[in-house]
């Protein structure tokens, strides 16, 4: 078990499944509003980052490419947060 988890891809897959289950659960209980939106965006950010670093294998890539993709994630999350914040006003 410990051996299997030494592979970053296995670890990422496990966390991605758990994170997906949490988002699904938040939907089931009807979570809404600022707290729920921030929680779901944070979960999506963590998931996206795992895909970028451990699936796309950009952790060891030239920094520019890593920052471009992680920057995309920050940009998209921020725009969504801004739009939802406007809708809550």
């Amino acid at each position: 078990m410990m051996n299997a988890l030494s592979n970053p891809a296995h670890r990422a897959w496990l966390v991605l499944l758990i994170a997906t289950a949490i988002t699904w659960y938040l939907g089931e209980v009807g979570a809404a509003g600022t707290g729920a939106i921030i929680a779901m965006l944070l979960i999506a950010f963590v998931k996206g980052r795992l895909v970028i670093l451990d699936f796309m294998e950009l952790r060891e890539a030239p920094l520019m490419w890593r920052l471009l993709l992680e920057g995309w994630l920050i940009l998209v999350s921020s725009l969504i947060l801004l739009a939802y914040w406007i809708s809550l006003k």
Binding site: A44, E57, A83
Partner: protein, 193 residues
């Protein structure tokens, strides 16, 4: 063999440079769509919240699991190439392809239920976004699967080794992008309210 500490490996971009520019362009297009959805919703959150409840969240979550798992199999294929484990390369590509097939199947059932209920792009702004965003992504899953099919044929002919895995890494990167986009799309359209 030199037992002294090995120098750190040079930073290296997996696959071909061109595929990363293509991926970036695709991601920017989706960023525009995601932001358009979020800002269109800001004009009428009540309507978006109401119709979002008609979406099948279980199907969306199941599809997330399928894409995440498909992506995982494809990383395992790349890892297999790096250690020259030929059977594991094609096996994992095939498993990734099957996950993509599972995604399309779930989506077809989801669309059938919606279209069967008389819902279309012109029903309202929410459904216009739901159908166009998910369908645009759907097309990317299909393209990803075409790429995986090509990789599978090539892998069966022994095209990928620890010395030459660029083609495999490029195709894998595209497949992971399809996964990455769904990771934003699912909470945004199906859950966030």
């Amino acid at each position: 063999m030199n037992t002294l500490a090995a120098p750190p490996l040079p930073r290296r971009l997996p696959g071909d440079l061109a595929i990363w520019f293509f991926i970036l362009a695709e991601m920017l297009a989706f960023a525009v769509f995601f932001a358009s959805y979020a800002f269109a919703r800001a004009h009428n959150p009540e309507m978006f919240n109401l119709y979002q409840q008609t979406l099948d969240r279980n199907a969306g979550a199941l599809n997330t699991v399928l894409l995440v798992t498909g992506s995982w199999f494809v990383v395992l294929a790349v890892q297999a190439a790096h250690r020259d484990d030929q059977p594991a390369i094609s096996r994992n590509i095939l498993l990734g392809f099957l996950c993509g097939g599972g995604f399309l199947t779930v989506k077809v059932f989801e669309y059938a239920a919606k279209f069967g209920a008389g819902i279309s792009m012109s029903t309202n702004t929410f459904y216009m976004f739901y159908i166009s965003l998910t369908f645009f992504h759907f097309m990317h899953v299909i393209l990803g699967m075409v790429i995986l099919a090509v990789l599978w044929f090539q892998a069966r002919q022994g095209a990928y080794t620890s010395q030459s895995a660029n083609g495999l890494e490029s195709g894998a990167a595209y497949w992971h992008m399809v996964d990455l986009l769904w990771i934003i799309l699912f909470p945004l359209v199906y859950v966030m309210r």
